[in-house]
C-alpha cells in the first residue's frame, strides 16, 4: 500500500485528532540528530521556562523528518522533561504542525471571502484538478499537499496562494498552473515577497527560529 493510500481516510475523519487516531505508522528513531539535540537545547534555554520552546521544537522535528511523527513528540518530551501525551496534546492543536507525511511543498489557497470574491474557490478547485484529490493529504509524487487556507492577511492581493507559506499575489489560474509545473521541474518560482520557497523542512527550520542562522533559505524579495 502506498503512503498516499494508507492515509486516504474518509474525508469526514480528516480533522487532526482523528488523523492521529488512524495514524498507523511512525518512524524509527532517533529523529533528532546529536546536532539537532544541541540546537534544541539552545532553543529551550532561550526562554524563561523550557516548555515555551514546545512549538519551536516541534518545528525542529518537522525540519528533520518533513512532518511530526510520534517518535518526534517523544523526543521533544524528553528534551522538555514532559510526557509524550503533554506534547501530543499541543501538537494536535496547531495546523502548521503536520501529523502525517505530507508533500515537500504545501500549497495553501486562501478561500476566505476577500479572496473568494475574486475567484479563489475556482483556483482551489483547479489546483485539486491539477494535483489530484490525494493532494489534500499528499500527492502521488510526494511533492504537494494542497490546503484550503483561511485569510492570510494579504487580502489586498487577492486571490492569494502560498507555497510553504511564502505568498504569491493575485494569482490567476494560468499562473497557478505554471507555478505547479515549475515546482514539478524543481524550480519553484520566486514568491511576491521573500524569494524562492524552500522545501517544508527548510521552512520549518525558519519557523523553529533558526532562520537567521541560514538566511539563504528565505532570500530577499
Amino acid at each position: 500500500m502506498s503512503e498516499a493510500e494508507r492515509f486516504s481516510v474518509p474525508r469526514w475523519q480528516s480533522g487532526q485528532p482523528a488523523e492521529l487516531r488512524v495514524l498507523d505508522v511512525d518512524v524509527e528513531g532517533p529523529v533528532l540528530s546529536d546536532e539537532a539535540r544541541r540546537v534544541a537545547e539552545r532553543i529551550a534555554s532561550k526562554y524563561p521556562t523550557r516548555r515555551s520552546a514546545m512549538i519551536p521544537l516541534l518545528y525542529l522535528v518537522q525540519a528533520e523528518v518533513g512532518w511530526v511523527p510520534r517518535r518526534g513528540m517523544r523526543e521533544v518530551a524528553d528534551v522538555l522533561g514532559l510526557t509524550t501525551a503533554e506534547v501530543e496534546a499541543v501538537a494536535t492543536f496547531y495546523t502548521m504542525l503536520k501529523l502525517h507525511p505530507c508533500g515537500r511543498y504545501i500549497v495553501s489557497i486562501c478561500t476566505n471571502p476577500s479572496c473568494a470574491l475574486l475567484g479563489a474557490r475556482r483556483l482551489y478547485e483547479r489546483a485539486r484538478e491539477l494535483l489530484g484529490e490525494s493532494a489534500e493529504r499528499v500527492s502521488e509524487d510526494g511533492l504537494f499537499t494542497l490546503e484550503e487556507e483561511e485569510c492570510l492577511a494579504a487580502c489586498d492581493q487577492a486571490p492569494v496562494v502560498a507555497v510553504n507559506f511564502l505568498f504569491y499575489d493575485r494569482v490567476s489560474e494560468e499562473q497557478l498552473e505554471s507555478m505547479i509545473e515549475e515546482i514539478r521541474q524543481g524550480r519553484p518560482p520566486a514568491a511576491s515577497r521573500g524569494g524562492i520557497p524552500g522545501e517544508l523542512k527548510d521552512i520549518s527550520r525558519v519557523l523553529a527560529g533558526l532562520g537567521t542562522d541560514r538566511a539563504a533559505e528565505v532570500e530577499d524579495g
Partner: protein, 459 residues
C-alpha cells in the same frame, strides 16, 4: 484642518525603510533616545494623554493598560507584541512589518522601558514566514546598534526581545490564548479576571499590544501627545491604517485620521466598487464585526461612532461586497472560518459554530426552511457572551447582522430553493469538505452528508 500627512506609513515608499540605516536616516530611534531621558511614569502619562486606543480590536486605552502594571510584585514584567494578525480582512500589521519593522521595534522598546520590562516577546503568526524574517533581521540590527541588549544607549536599561512563531491558529491572537501558546500549551483562552496586566505570561504582569498600536508610540513620544490627539475624531485619536478589500477597485491599506468616513475610504481611497456596481454590505472591522450596508457609508470610522451605528470598529478592516454577491454565501464562509478556528474549549462556541455552518449551508443550497432563520437567531443568542473569549461573539456578528439587513435574501433562498444570485456571483463556500479543524470534536463523529435535523435536536 491642515491636510493629513501620513504618519505610520510615511516610510512605505522608501525601499530602504526596512533597514536600520534607512530608518535612522528618517529620524528613527530619536524617540527612543527621548523616552530614555524621561521618567518611565512620564512616558506612560504621555501615551495616556495622547488618547491612543488599542488597534487590535478592543480599543482599550493603551496608556491606561500600561499604568495597570504593578511594580511591587517581585516578579518580572513582560511585554508581548501581538503579531498574530488573522482576523479575516485585516492586513495592516503585515505590511507595517514588511515595510517598516524598526518602527514597531522602537515602539516596543519604549513600551518595555515605560513598564520596566526586561524581556519582551513578539508572537508572530506562523504563516508569516517572510514578515517574521524581516522582523527578525530588524531585531538583530537593533541589537547590533545597541538599541537592544544590555545598557541600551548608556541608559542602564536592559531589554531582550524574543520572536516566537505560532503554528496556525486564529485563536492565538486572543491575548490569553496567545499567552497559553507562548507558554507551550494548546492555545486556549483563560478566564479573566485576573487580567494579563496582573497575571499574564508565567503568571507575571504582562502588557499585550497590537503591532499598529505600538507603531504609534514612537510618534507620540517624538511629536507629543497633544499633536497625536489633534488627529482623529472624538475619542478615537491619531492616525489609523484601514485595510480595504473585496470588491473595490484598489484594495489596500490606507492611512487616514481615525474617524474618517467609510465612504471616503471605500469610494475615495479604494476607488469605489468594481465595475461601477454599488456597495451591498461591508464589515467595518473584519469578519467579527456586524455587517453594515450602503446606508451606513457616512459613518465615521471611530470606536464610538461605529458602535452607535450598530457595529464595532474592530481592526478597521473593511471587506466590501457588491450587489451581485450573495450575503448568505459570504456569511456561510465566515462561519466555516469560525467553526474551523474555534479552539473547542467552550461548548457554546465549539458546537454553535459547527451547527450554524450546517444550517447556513442548508439555506444557502436551497434546502432550508423558513424557521431556519429564527433558529439561527436563537442559536446566536445561546452563543453570545457565553464563552471565555470573544471568538463566538465574533461568529454571531455576521449571522445576526445579515439577518437584520438581508432577511429578504435568506427568505428568497428558501422560497426559490436556490440562491437567487448564483449566476452572477462567485461561489464563496469553502471548496474542500474540510470538517472539524483544530478541534471540531463533533465534526469527526458525524459523517458529511448525514443530515441531522437541528430543529428537532434543539427542540
Amino acid at each position: 484642518m491642515a491636510e493629513f500627512q501620513p504618519v505610520l506609513t510615511a516610510r512605505w515608499g522608501d525601499p530602504e525603510a526596512a533597514t536600520l540605516h534607512g530608518y535612522e536616516r528618517t529620524g528613527g530611534y530619536q524617540a527612543l533616545r527621548k523616552a530614555l531621558s524621561m521618567d518611565p511614569a512620564a512616558v506612560i502619562e504621555e501615551v495616556k494623554s495622547s488618547g491612543l486606543r488599542g488597534r487590535g480590536g478592543a480599543g482599550f486605552p493603551t496608556g491606561t493598560k500600561w499604568s495597570f502594571i504593578p511594580q511591587d510584585t517581585g516578579k518580572p514584567v513582560y511585554v508581548v507584541v501581538n503579531f498574530d494578525e488573522s482576523e479575516p480582512g485585516t492586513f495592516n500589521n503585515r505590511e507595517l512589518i514588511e515595510r517598516d519593522p524598526h518602527q514597531l521595534v522602537e515602539g516596543a522598546i519604549i513600551c518595555a522601558y515605560a513598564v520596566r520590562c526586561r524581556t519582551a516577546f513578539v508572537y508572530c503568526r506562523g504563516e508569516f514566514v517572510w514578515p517574521g524574517t524581516v522582523l527578525e533581521r530588524a531585531i538583530a540590527e537593533a541589537y547590533e546598534a545597541g538599541y537592544l541588549g544590555k545598557d541600551i544607549l548608556g541608559s542602564g536599561f536592559d531589554l531582550d526581545v524574543i520572536l516566537h512563531r505560532g503554528a496556525g491558529a486564529y485563536i492565538c491572537g486572543e491575548e490569553t490564548a496567545l499567552l497559553e501558546s507562548l507558554e507551550g500549551f494548546r492555545g486556549q483562552p483563560r478566564l479573566r479576571p485576573p487580567f494579563p496586566a496582573v497575571e499574564g505570561l508565567y503568571r507575571s504582569p504582562t502588557v499585550i499590544n497590537n503591532v499598529e498600536t505600538l507603531s504609534c508610540v514612537p510618534h507620540i513620544i517624538d511629536r507629543g501627545a497633544r499633536w497625536f490627539a489633534s488627529i482623529g475624531a472624538g475619542k478615537s485619536t491619531g492616525p489609523g491604517i484601514f485595510s480595504v478589500s473585496g470588491k473595490v477597485n484598489r484594495p489596500g491599506n490606507y492611512e487616514a485620521p481615525m474617524g474618517t468616513t467609510a465612504r471616503e475610504l471605500i469610494e475615495g481611497h479604494a476607488g469605489g466598487v468594481r465595475d461601477g456596481k454599488r456597495v451591498k454590505a461591508w464589515t467595518p472591522g473584519g469578519s467579527s464585526t456586524p455587517l453594515l450596508t450602503a446606508e451606513h457609508l457616512d459613518v465615521q470610522m471611530g470606536f464610538d461612532e461605529v458602535q452607535a451605528a450598530g457595529s464595532l470598529l474592530g481592526t478597521k478592516a473593511m471587506i466590501v461586497l457588491d450587489e451581485r454577491d450573495c450575503v448568505v454565501d459570504a456569511v456561510l464562509r465566515f462561519t466555516q472560518f469560525y467553526a474551523h478556528e474555534s479552539c473547542g474549549k467552550c461548548t457554546p462556541c465549539r458546537e454553535g459554530t459547527w451547527w450554524m455552518t450546517r444550517v447556513l449551508r442548508r439555506v444557502e443550497q436551497g434546502r432550508g426552511r423558513m424557521e431556519d432563520i429564527d433558529l439561527m437567531q436563537t442559536v446566536g443568542q445561546n452563543m453570545l457572551f457565553k464563552s471565555f473569549c470573544a471568538l463566538a461573539d465574533g461568529a454571531v456578528s455576521p449571522i445576526d447582522s445579515s439577518i437584520k439587513y438581508f432577511r429578504d435574501e435568506y427568505e428568497e433562498h428558501v422560497r426559490l430553493g436556490r440562491c437567487p444570485l448564483r449566476e452572477e456571483s462567485p461561489r464563496l463556500e469553502a471548496a474542500s469538505a474540510r470538517s472539524g479543524g483544530t478541534t471540531g470534536a463533533l465534526a469527526q463523529v458525524l459523517p458529511e452528508g448525514i443530515e441531522v435535523e437541528l430543529g428537532e435536536v434543539l427542540g
